[in-house]
């Protein structure tokens, strides 16, 4: 059984190195057809001289045989012929009992000498053969042949960036939460201080299912649901997900991805917001990136701000090789996040104490991915061309 799992090293000579191509070498047939090493004597009587002559002839014969053995299987045959259990040496030794006790030591001694000599010859040749086999293998080896490439998978760039962003906040102690994509008007708008018939709703062109049910226009309803579920501070969450707007052109997609963050606790201030987002932005874009906060408006935060980072293309200079930077359009800044201190009306809507303090922020994942990977066309994310996807392996 054991032999069938043994493959001689010379099998590698096949070059392509496929397992199992070389025939297994079976030891069992050894000895059957080995020629008798001794001249048949008439009265079947052996003499010391004959035996010693026979022994002494083994070494030159082995040498001649070895010269013919060009591969390891032939070598093994020769080993069996000379050194095997029923090999020529053994056969000569089998005649030993026919000698008188005083004759035996001389022949025995000679036999041991010859056996050692044969082994030495054999090992030397085997070594030579192995070396030349290895040399031949190396000669035929071509490192430039292609590999047997396993499938190369990829995560969508949006998933990768989402994961990267979430992990920054997870490390800061935020929980990742999820929510509904089809939302009530209450959770998507009213609880976030977008009253009905308010122009703030123009900021988000809405796809709806029916009166009172919309495709969520932002990830912010997850804030609302989280606060409603937790009932009281503290809470620190990030909420990634798909969002929907009734908008489709070069720079707008009817579906895209946002990540929302919310921290509500005692004594949280605008400075904390600034610090948290500065830490985040530097983590994502590197420690050298400049961060700028400027006032803005979101119904569910007050004060509200937009966060700009120094342009990652022109390092905030606004120009590249003497031309206006096309990424920041010469301003040196890129809008990356919207944020603010949670508006008291939101606390009211979810039953939190209106004197609570906390901040919220949100960002568009596609925008970050476009900046990070230098992708110029938003539509590529949703065409899912495998030549695009494959680049994010």
């Amino acid at each position: 059984m054991g032999n069938s799992y043994f493959y001689p090293s010379l099998a590698r000579d096949a070059g392509t190195c496929d397992r199992g191509q070389a025939a297994p070498l079976h030891g069992a047939y050894a000895g059957e057809n080995v020629p008798n090493p001794l001249p048949q004597e008439r009265n079947n009587q052996v003499s010391v001289m004959n035996l010693i002559a026979a022994l002494e002839s083994l070494a030159p014969e082995l040498e001649r045989g070895l010269d013919q053995a060009l591969d390891l299987s032939k070598l093994e045959e020769i080993r069996v012929e000379f050194l095997g259990r029923k090999g020529r040496l053994a056969q000569i030794m089998a005649r030993l009992p026919e000698l008188s006790p005083e004759e035996k030591p001389a022949v025995g001694k000679k036999a041991n000498e010859i056996k050692a000599r044969l082994n030495t010859l054999f090992d030397a040749h085997k070594h030579t053969l192995e070396k030349s086999g290895e040399k031949a293998y190396l000669t035929r080896f071509d490192a430039t042949l292609p590999g047997a490439l396993p499938w190369l998978g990829s995560m969508h760039p949006i998933s990768q960036v989402t994961e990267e962003i979430c992990s920054v906040f997870e490390a800061l102690g935020y929980d990742v939460v999820d929510g509904l994509e089809v939302e009530t008007d209450f959770h998507n708008f009213q609880a976030l201080n977008f009253p009905k018939d308010h122009p703030a709703r123009d900021m988000q062109d809405t796809l709806y299912v029916n009166e009172g049910v919309v495709l969520r226009t932002h990830t912010s309803p997850m804030q609302v649901r989280s606060m409603l579920a937790r009932k009281a501070p503290p809470l620190a969450i990030v909420a990634p997900g798909k969002v929907y707007r009734r908008d489709s052109d070069m720079t707008h997609s009817p579906m895209f991805h946002q990540i929302e963050g919310l921290l509500v606790d005692k004594g949280i201030s605008l400075r904390d917001l600034r610090g948290s987002l500065t830490a985040f932005v530097r983590r994502l874009f590197g420690p050298a990136v400049g961060v700028r906060f400027r006032p803005s408006f979101f119904p569910f935060t007050e004060p509200s701000a937009e966060v700009d980072i120094s342009c990652i293309m022109c390092s905030g200079k606004g120009a590249l090789h003497g031309e206006t930077c096309r990424v920041c359009k010469g301003t040196g800044w890129l809008e990356i996040l919207g944020c603010g201190m949670v508006d008291p009306n939101v606390y009211k809507a979810v039953g939190f104490d209106e004197e609570c303090t906390g901040f919220a922020f949100g960002l568009g994942v596609e925008r970050v991915a476009m900046l990070k990977y230098g992708i110029g066309d938003l539509r590529l994310f949703f065409e899912n061309n495998v030549r695009f996807l494959g680049q994010f392996a």
Binding site: L149, W151, H156, D178, L180, T184, F293, M341
Partner: protein, 798 residues
Amino acid sequence: MLLSMNWLREFVPYEGDAETLGAKLTMLGLELEEICRPFDGIRDVVVGHVVACAKHPEADKLSICRVDVGTEILDIVCGAPNVAAGQKVAVAPVGASLPNGMTIKKAKLRGAPSHGMLCSEVELGLSEDHSGIMVLSPDAVPGRKLTEALALDTEVLDIGITPNRGDCLSVLGLAREVAVAFGLPLRLPQPKTPENGQSANDLLRIDIADGELCPLYQGRILENIRVAKSPDWLRFRLLAVGQRSLSNIVDVTNYILFGLGQPLHAFDLDTLSGGRIIVQPALPGEKFRTLDGQERILEATDLTIRDEKGPIALAGVMGGLDSEVTAGSRRIFLECATFNPSVIRKTARRLGLHSEASYRYERGVDQGIAEYAMESAAMLMAELGQGSILPGVVKAEPQPWKNAVLPFRPQRCSDLLGQEMDPAFCRETLEHLGCEVAVPSPDTWSVTAPSYRRDLEREVDLIEEVARIYGMDRFEPTLPKVSRPLTRSEARDSEYTFWKRIRHWGKGLGLNEIIHYSFVGQKDLDRLGLPQAERLPIGNPLTSDQDVLRTRLAPGLLNILRNNLAQGVTGLRLFELAHVFHADASQETGANEPARLGILLHGDRFDTLWPHQQADAGYADLRGVIEHLLASLHLGKARFDREEEEHPWLSPAVRLTLRGENLGSLGRVKPEIADYYYARKDVWIAELDLDRIRSLAEGAAIRFAPLPVFPPVKRDITLAVPFDLPAQDILECIRGMKISILEDAELIDVYLPEQDNERRLTFRMTFRHGKRTLEDAEVDKQRDAVARHVTATLPVRL
């Protein structure tokens, strides 16, 4: 909002440049989008003086002019009928380019050399007037740039205004911010309105049905008006902010709207009947023709301005065609009103009628500026229309504006912003913004907001103003401690965490993750024969390709397959994690959003042609992927059973079950459906219930099993099996024997002899004893027992 630098300087003496101003406003929350130079196209055009003008000897319609352009006198051939000696004209010299893209070159016209062009307004992009060349004021100085001679608004800032800052939708509003930002005084010229004639109140009376809908409606009456073209300064100023000039009267209403933010409307008074203006909701179903000539059917939510006979205007949105000011109008009623913002918004949205007026009314118009705006407009109309203003204002104001009085706690301000804010700075800031500050106690102030800041409603709004003026960018960053209640550590991992695990699995296995839109077209669902009842259509879809939420992942995966095949891709291995949407009346949102994992394999099994034997992906590949997923989640072996019933889009279709739970289905897309998606080879697709898999995976734990000490013994058995007997049944039959030393049994080969109704299946059984080495004889005995049992139980032969 387009802000002309020249216009701004009429309100505030800002001397700096546009870039500095734009940057400053941006940091005040009024984001500069762009600096426009609306007259850049005529920067090369200069004033010329036609010194002499003679008929071209060879052409009736051409004149040969000698034109003084300050530095030299040019010979210019002109074809305009109105050219004459002594005129001041607009000259495009050789080398100048014009807005229409033309570049002026030296030319010879019928033998006469011409070194430039005298321009008409249409050539200068100033109006549609192409009747002749533009004739300038006699005091224009030859050689001066035309943009300077006409005092054109050459620099205009495009400022993005957030919905809360309706007060900044005017030059005045932005001038207030500029004054605060740069510490400059604000100037408002006082209009003089000389009145004469009979009292306006004898001619017209205002009735407002509901003060909630219309807090203020007032107007002026003008007589003996000549409706005419506006003067250049007015025409070109409106042009600079993107408005077409219509007539002196209408242009004044627009000028005041952009300048002061107060929408106005001018009616031809002679078209109104009954001596009464009524402000009330429309009668449902009532028809009304708006200024744009369209007939509108009104609803009770629309607020109308009416006379005795019916509607004359849609309040705050658009006037009526019948009461429009025309060239022959002599008596004008000038309307100046404020309306309930949400009423205006409803009507504008319902009718898709968004005007500059409705845009401002929706965001709240300052009731405090109304009178000033009306007087300024009336004065200008009287002046430009050479008419007179009747004494008195017709007016009804059922709800006079009440300024909001807000508390302000300096300590709360400091707490929220995270640093001590100097109370003196806070007070000064609020006062500069137009607030009145009273300090009844140092802890809580009483702040009265100005009428134009309708967005200041609560204390926090004042805190935001303090932060905004202080500079949002000046607060030093700090990193807060994030505290977590202990119970959070017991919470279930989020869906995100589990999906992340699956995504990494898919990527590692060699699948490409896709993200498809959550919506598809109804026809995509129809093609797969998906039921109607569970669908959630979108109420206002962008296109018919995206008019329903997908109830399965398959339509999206197939769309992506099609996109890729169209690009010449020959092998695809896609996966997607997403929610699908099913109508479900029991949910708060009417939608159920189960999570799904979709997998699609098509075409090439390998990415490379060597050293594999290339083949097409098949059932074994897809099933293997799924088994790999379940194994990597430690979920054990699942059942794969052929669906007995006809599946709408898969054939064959296979049901996946694990511990009795249905985990989804997989199969080959029916060729006639695959054909639509350009697939000429088999498309293998799986759609799995990710919620169930998640629940099962959460319960799965890794338990270590001690490694076996004694060697296994393997025995193969080959059986002739009819095609309708699943291999799984044989394995279960073998395992069902409960042979204690049988460790495992698996299929290792399938041989399909030609022209036979049986196949040869080879199974390998692994025997092992936990406490000793097995002997051949006892293993052989068990193998024979298996052979006997299987052939006796199932229709199979050895």
